[in-house]
């Protein structure tokens, strides 16, 4: 970590702690639930920011990677091992100690695969899929890449919606809590609210530190050079095809990890998580945040997702994100949270104050 990262990280950490203290003091801890969810969605957005804003490669299919994480862990950890004790694979899993026992919402004990294992499986699976589809589609540029990733997103959505194993339109529910070390657990129990808030916040802060480190480094510069001029990047010895593939996989893995954790937190996942409008809203938030701006993306990710999850946009939710994307693209292609906008805001404030003063003197 460098000095330029200390300050925003310190401010963010202070905000996270302050919010929890205030909310707990006001006996309004339920606000933390949506904030926890927003933090996980923001993790998807951070990964997408590196892909889109820095490397200049659009993806309209990131909800699919999120869903792959969520559904993988949902399928694996809701499978009752005790019910198939004779299966050699199950025997192996139990023999290796990869299983764990949880108490479900009705107080019954279930024996299932450890979420740690499903997390690893989900990450490997998502990385492999991103790698395999990335090879052909990252040869495309601009609108064509957007269309191809959109197509991929639709395919995953339809698969999830039409497959019995994935619960079809109902999705999968009754996931066990994901017990981390030291008594911490990712789960929907109201008693776990505060610690889940901190787990999500920790992942988000860790994510933003890792990615800001990446951006200001040899591979980070290589990614940004692709955005600037792919031809010149190649001439300087940057293997642009490989870097584009790596960053695509990296951002898919961020989405997948967010998917795994949020699904355990929510206790279930439905096909709406894989919907194309989900991907569009991720892209919209990256754009509002300022494209090549991790902190902008983080702030807008938390704020907009929180407003959306608390239902402030009501049934106009998709409409709102669609409009945000159009307005940003048309009028603020550099994003909302950029220095110039702050300056305009400051100038306007000064002018209003001056006017008020002039009015008083008359």
């Amino acid at each position: 970590m460098r000095p330029s990262v200390y300050i925003p990280v310190a401010v963010l950490t202070a905000c996270i702690i302050a919010f929890q203290i205030i909310v707990s003091a006001l006996n309004r801890e339920f606000y933390l639930t949506q904030l926890t969810m927003s933090a996980y969605y923001s993790l998807v957005i951070l990964g997408l920011t590196v892909l889109m804003g820095y490397a200049g490669q659009i993806s309209l299919g990131h909800a699919a990677f999120f869903a792959m994480g969520g559904y993988t862990t949902a399928v694996l950890t809701t499978y009752n091992l005790a019910g198939a004790a004779g299966n050699p694979l199950v025997k192996l899993v139990v023999g290796l100690g990869l299983d764990t026992v949880s108490t479900n919402a009705y107080g019954a004990q279930t024996q299932h695969l450890s979420p740690w294992v499903s997390l690893v499986v989900a990450v490997c699976l998502t990385a492999a899929v991103a790698f395999l589809i990335g090879i052909p589609i990252l040869k495309l540029k601009g609108h064509y890449l957007a269309m191809a990733t959109l197509g991929f997103g639709i395919i995953v959505y339809r698969i999830v919606l039409g497959t019995r194993m994935f619960g079809e339109a109902d999705g999968i529910s009754d996931l066990p809590a994901f017990r981390l070390a030291g008594g911490l657990a990712v789960g929907g129990d109201p008693g776990l609210r505060v610690q889940n808030y901190y787990i999500a916040a920790f992942l988000l802060v860790a994510g933003v530190i890792l990615l800001t480190n990446l951006i200001d480094s040899r591979p980070g510069r290589a990614l940004r050079s692709i955005h600037g001029s792919e031809e010149a990047a190649n001439a300087m010895g940057v293997n642009t095809a490989r870097y584009k593939l790596s960053v695509f996989v990296l951002s898919a893995v961020f989405a997948c990890i967010a998917g795994v954790f949020l699904t355990h937190f929510n206790g279930g996942i439905g096909p709406s998580e894989a919907e194309v409008m989900k991907s569009v809203s991720y892209v919209a938030i990256v754009a509002v945040g300022g494209m090549a701006n991790l902190w902008g993306a983080l702030v807008m990710g938390v704020v907009l997702n929180y407003l959306s999850l608390r239902g402030y946009f009501g049934s106009y939710d998709e409409f709102v994100f669609g409009c945000i994307l159009i307005v940003i693209m048309l009028f603020m292609p550099e994003g909302l949270l950029i220095k110039e906008n702050f300056r305009i805001l400051a100038d306007t404030a000064v002018r209003i104050v001056n006017k008020c003063r002039a009015g008083k003197q008359e």
Binding site: S217, R218, H227, G228, G237, V238
Partner: protein, 254 residues
């Protein structure tokens, strides 16, 4: 053995034969110029040598080993760097960061090491920054390090492209019209820089229209016209060559 050896290089675009059977060689540490009227195939020739375009036929050797058909990033690793006719600096990056990209092939850090900022990555990053800064100072633009590269005046952007190409520590540098669009002072500065580059032991292949620059700095000149080599030799000989005069000035004036 010649340092750069180009043998029978050809490439067409549809019906246009942009480069036809061009052969020439460049000695180690020489400055060789490629001149010719617009559309003679000079930039295409550069693209074929640097790998930006694969040649339809022909071969390119560097110190005797073949490089034709390799992708451009692998050719860069063989010690060939280039600048572009229509400057291609990386936007949204500072002058220093642009030059630091030049150190890409001389450094190793991958995604994981960079994200975790391991000690050896930090040390490498320091080396990249210092070397890049030294090159900027050498070319006299150290004070511009933190400026956004694409917001600089044209002449300065050219120098940044030079610095970026030099940062790769090339054995051969391809300069595509380094003086295009520059005024007489800036051109003199570029000429000085090319001589500076040569003194560092680098071989230079340069496309240029500014004849006084070409005649001043080059050891040898290759003349292209309509994709074919029509003459090759020392500047004085090229100036007297009837075919070259005909191509440049037209039939009646020769």
């Amino acid at each position: 053995m010649n340092f750069l050896e180009v043998k029978g290089l050809s490439r067409s675009f549809g019906g246009l034969r942009a480069v036809q059977e061009v052969s020439f060689s460049v000695e180690k540490n020489a400055i060789k110029a490629i001149i010719g009227p617009n559309g003679a195939g000079k930039t295409t020739l550069f693209n074929l040598i640097s790998g930006a375009l694969p040649p339809a036929s022909g071969q390119v050797f560097i110190s005797g080993s073949p490089i034709h058909g390799l992708p451009p990033h692998r050719i860069a690793r063989r010690g060939i760097s280039r600048t572009f006719q229509n400057i291609k600096l990386f936007s949204r990056m500072s002058v220093l960061e642009n030059v630091m990209i030049g150190r890409h092939i001389r450094s190793r850090a991958g995604f994981l090491a960079a994200m975790l900022r391991l000690p050896r990555t930090k040390a490498e990053e320091r080396e990249i920054r210092e070397t890049s800064m030294d090159i900027l100072s050498l070319l006299g633009i150290g004070d511009l390090a933190d400026q956004e590269a694409t917001s600089l005046p044209f002449g300065k952007q050219r120098v940044v492209e030079f610095a970026r190409a030099l940062a790769t520590e090339p054995d051969l540098i391809l300069l595509d019209e380094p003086a295009a669009g520059l005024n007489i002072h800036e051109t003199a500065h570029i000429s000085e820089m090319i001589m500076k580059i040569r003194r560092r032991g680098i071989t230079v292949l340069v496309i240029e229209h500014d004849m006084s620059l070409v005649m001043n700095i080059s050891d040898e000149i290759v003349v292209l016209s309509s994709g074919k080599k029509i003459a090759e030799g020392a500047p004085a000989a090229i100036q007297k060559n009837g075919e070259v005069i005909r191509v440049y000035l037209g039939e009646g004036d020769a």
